[in-house]
Amino acid sequence: MTKQEIEKNVELIREISGCDPYKCMRCGKCSGSCPSFNEMDIKPHQFASYIINGNVEELVSSKSLWKCLSCFACIERCPRNVEPGKLIDAARQLVERERGGDHLQAEDIPELLNEDVPQQLLVSAYRRYRR
């Protein structure tokens, strides 16, 4: 990414999420609450600093994008209203809004099915993994 592209993406993440990463005080409460902490390479308390420091390329290629459960624990508990779960969702959307950025293809679904899969699981995954 060029410097300009990085700046544009930082701006986009702030716009889409509606969150202010500069308010983060790195208290770690979000990471302490996160059920996917062990699975993530970049941890919730680091999301804000990756954005502030312009490390967007690392953030959007992070596997954390696909490990966040949107459980809203960090959003409930962040004392500074940074709401890191929204920041990571916005980063995920940067990826998904690009051509070929989807994390789930319609063709893949038949082999992921079993007879118990609730409709809710399909639509939720479809909504979170692609745009």
């Binding site: 809203f72 624990a73 609730p118 409709q119 809710q120 699981l121 995954a125 909504r127 979170r128 993994y129």
Partner: protein, 263 residues
């Protein structure tokens, strides 16, 4: 009393028990669920992006229909509940989203979040009352130790959902008490079960559901109850040794009210 009712796609399919037992119980308690005609799927997850409008419109349609009927809107699936309550909050308090959604909708009168969205459990607590519910119980769940599994979506974010204290909820425990059962309070009752990641990769939900079962069984629960079809799925797929049976809360309700075998 009549309510507009938004069942959602899962309750018409894999989670028919959640719906059926709710309707039987509502009839026994003297209120009616009037299904919204031609409702559309809410999408299962709330679109978090501030610029996502189209994905919120199916919820706005349902909310506006309830407004036109002059009824409160009831949901059972915690995911539908989450989405409808949050979109309603946007329509009431987020001018940008509200204006843009109304521009799409072209209603005679713009929708501004007038409808009150209630979870079935909130109706039991706030309108019927748990004391009244208790008096209607004919088959109390005596001797049953029941763990409430709340999951995430019905509780958080607490400021918007306003369902119960998101860190120390008690509505489902009070519900269990009203039915004559013994609630088991355990730490993981409001921790995520793995949510939608189980479609592509069951690893996280296996880990999460093991924690949930170890925790609830450790505190003595013989069974869990839930209001979420996805929690039900993830919990049922768990390979934990500490696994206990999981029921929809409406099934126990119908049983206690003596209407389970009806219809």
């Amino acid at each position: 009393m009549k309510y507009s009712y938004y069942p959602g796609c899962t309750l018409k399919n894999k989670a028919q028990d959640l719906d059926r037992y709710a309707r039987l119980s509502a009839a026994a308690l003297g209120f009616e669920l009037e299904e919204i005609p031609e409702w559309q799927c809410c999408g299962g997850v709330y679109p978090l992006g501030t610029d996502e409008i189209a994905t919120k419109l199916s919820s706005v349609r349902a909310l506006n229909h309830a407004k036109e009927q002059g009824q409160d809107l009831i949901t059972l699936c915690t995911a539908c509940h989450h989405v409808l309550k949050r979109v309603n909050d946007d329509m009431k308090n987020n001018e940008d989203i509200s204006t843009r959604a109304n521009n799409y909708m072209q209603l005679d009168e713009p929708y501004k979040g007038e409808t009150s969205v209630k979870h079935f459990l909130e109706v039991l607590r706030d309108e019927i009352g748990f004391d009244e519910l208790k008096s209607k119980v004919v088959k109390p769940l005596e001797g049953k130790k029941i763990g409430a599994y709340y999951g995430c979506l019905v509780l958080r974010p607490g400021k918007i959902l306003e369902f119960d204290d998101p860190e120390n909820p008690k509505i489902m425990e009070d519900f269990i008490r009203a039915l004559g059962g013994e609630p088991v309070i355990y730490p993981y009752r409001n921790e995520c079960c793995g949510a939608y990641t189980s479609l592509k990769d069951g690893g996280i939900s296996q880990e999460r559901t093991k924690l949930i079962f170890d925790s609830s069984s450790g505190f003595g629960a013989d069974m869990l109850i839930t209001a979420c079809p996805l929690c039900m799925y993830n919990l049922n797929k768990s390979e934990a040794d500490s696994k206990v049976p999981v029921y929809y809360f409406t099934e126990l309700l119908a049983e206690a009210l003596g209407v389970k075998e009806g219809e």
